[in-house]
Symmetry: C2
DNA sequence: CTATGATGCCTACCGATTCTAGGTATCACC
DNA sequence: GGTGATACCTAGAATCGGTAGGCATCATAG
């Protein structure tokens, strides 16, 4: 019974969160939904992964958080990319591209 | 001082090893060299990552090992893909492709 | 002839990160 | 009143790659 949802590889979650936030301020729960939606339901981030990741990312100064009220009037913690976070997103995207390229080379290679 | 060699993401090493072995039987040290060469020096697998990984992979039945002598007459442990390993390689490549696709979708997405 | 670097194997431990599995609370809806 | 969605959180397990060591052989440079 293989899951159709792919598990994330370690190291990809930060990039996804930063990317989601690059499209606009958002609260935690919304980040999960945005990633799922953007990936056409292929990626599902667990809450138990997200919240610790957000904490780490905030500690690193890549996002800032504030409590506010969402459009339905509920309390939620909104996260916003900082300048440093935007730079970090670029860095991580570049690393990802390098890795994808390198692995593609290995896969197309012959002895 | 960023390294120009990319660190691997967790979960990619098995696939790289299996791919390297899909090109022919090889000993551990040679696997490292083959991956480095195939990736145009972009990927460098550490010995401390490789040997435990080979052990894991052998336990799962994806490779078989035997001691032999290399072309220069030195003892070395040669690994060979099993049928199950070849199937596993396909599976992992498919997962990798799905992940790359999913992340590409997220990255090109707009709200 | 000795030192160094490459080849070849291995292990122990660390650090980072994701997941599972819980917990809490509010709200809409049936 | 119960269920599912929304919204936050934590503890602990599991995985896995890296660092840093160890050991042995061999070719080559000094």
């Amino acid at each position: 019974m293989p899951k159709d949802k792919a598990d994330l590889l370690q190291g990809t979650l930060d990039m996804l969160i930063l990317k989601a936030l690059s499209l606009g301020e958002l609260h935690g729960y919304g980040i999960i939904q945005r990633i799922r939606q953007l990936s056409d339901e292929m990626l599902n981030v667990e809450q138990g992964s997200l919240y610790p990741a957000l904490y780490r990312i905030e500690q690193k100064g890549w996002v800032s958080a504030r409590w506010d009220v969402n459009e339905t009037g509920r309390e939620a913690k909104f996260y916003k990319l900082t300048r440093s976070g935007r730079k970090q997103l670029e860095t991580q995207e570049a690393s990802w591209d390098r890795l994808v390229l390198a692995i593609a080379k290995v896969r197309q290679g012959t002895v």
